[in-house]
Amino acid sequence: TTMADKQNAQKSVKIAAGAVVCVESEIRGDVTIGPRTVVHPKARIIAEAGPIVIGEGNLIEEQALIINGYPENITPDSEVEPKTMTIGINNVFEVGCVSQALKIGDNNVIESKADVGRNVILTSGCIIGAFCQVNTCEVIPENTVIYGSGCMRRVQTERPQPQTLQLDFLMKILPNYHHLKKTVKAASKPVFN
């Protein structure tokens, strides 16, 4: 039972103190959420094929979908090494975006209804514009802006500012209107029998 308990404990959702995660959001699987991160209602974070680790100060808006799912040509039954999806700090996932990127750095912005594929690696300061679908197999260089219907690219000189003001405001206001999920200390204590 120790092993079973341990596995169950690992598959749960660990929300650090200081994070604001609304009860109406759907979080499944082994997900770790860092402090000062805000998860809006109706956001979905699904760790199917591996765990998801989300850092500090991220903003995940409504109907955003962060999913660590199985690649298309692999059935869930076959043995695949579970890969961890890591998301850094100060990222913004705007309304309705879909992110399957396994590695996201800091200060990135994925705008509304954008779609980021599994083989994309976002470094830092990248902005994926609204409704842009990026499913190439590449590392997006720092400070790249992808915009427009043809996914044009350019490099900006300044990285996008962290949304500290917005985060502070939301952390004050959201608890007035929504119930929050319970926070757990991030370091899970080993389960002793």
Binding site: V145, Y147, G148, M152, R154, Q156, E158, P160
Partner: protein, 450 residues
Amino acid sequence: MASLLQPDRVVYLVRGEKRIRAPLSQLYFCRYCSELRSLECVSHEVDSHYCPSCLENMPSAEAKLKKNRCANCFDCPCCMHTLSTRATNIPAPLPDDPTKTAMKKAYYLACGFCRWTSRDVGMADKSVASGGWQEPENPHTQRINKLVEYYQQLAHREKQERDRKKLARRRQCMPLAFSQHTIHVVEKYGLGTRLQRQRSGAPISSLAGLSLKEGEDQKEITIEPAQALEEVEPLPEDCYTRPISLPEVTTLRQRLLQPDFQPAGASQLHPRHKHLLMKRSLRCRKCEHNLSKPEFNPTSIKFKIQLVAESQVLLTLTNPVENITHVSLAACEEDDPDDINSTAKVIVPSKELVLAGKDAAAEYDELAEPQDFQDDPDVVAFRKSNKIGFFIKVIPQKEEDADVTVSFKIRHDFRNLAAPVRPSEEGADNPTEAIWLTHHVELRLGPLAP
């Protein structure tokens, strides 16, 4: 409704200077000529200029001076979106006491779409929110202005010579009428922009003020011809070997939007003032009446005069006017010269169809009497207020037709409500005379079922 989502299904033939087939929603109806008009058989006139982002009106003379650009708004040189002004607080030394620093507001331009900022090209932040931004000067402005002056003078001199020659030949006519007669000839090099009237000989007296005054002494303007250089700057040595950094190269579109500079590097892309848009009014060429005249206010989308075909001509099956209309359909004859697109034969009902008038209040009137039209159920499928559905038989002529097209003529009576009503002595109702209009209609019915 075919007119909203699939406008090309039903097209009407316009017999103007060109024969154009267009859906009714894109046509106008001149009620003085009682004919359909398309965009190609009307004359377009500029009504007013306005900026699409700040919606500021600008008189035409001012627009011409500013080269049709707005004074306040800028376009992003990267994605052509409208730039917005953003403010930041930067510490700046106080003018009185250089050791202390206070927060001062600094403004820069930023694009919300591609995240371009004015700092990318090295433009310094300004301390005023608007009016501080300047477009870069074109280094060739002086030479261009001088060339334009020289050619304007040349054009004027040529026109005077032409006038003098014509005057010498026909001595009876007044000299004044003459220079007005030659004005309608296209002015070379654009001395003054003016609409070109369709009819020649119409007096355009205001044009005379734009050319050089007669008495003014014409100083000779000379220009130096352009000099061709024998030696051209050679290409840099690493032209073929240097790796290209794509983010630094401008696209053709970005480059050509600034024809003065055409910068090759993205760091030289400066923002330009936004182009003005214009409102146009349409005028029937035959009777010179206005068909469409928009409001002067840029925020208003209404029209002062709007004679669109949909509100005047019979829609398929729907009667837009308020009186009872009689419609009869006729198939096209064998050798009809208009009948070029039809791929199927059609048998239309031979009887006349009657359509009730449009009555906006009928919806709310529960006690209204039911309409008493005796409809042949073979011909009329349904009838509802001013709409009617009727059957036509289509005989496709080809085996596998991807787009079955039928054409027929529709003939209906039209009462011209715009014509002046002659007052009758008894004060009785004086119905306006009805005229019969015939339109050639083409229907695209889609592919044949396999």
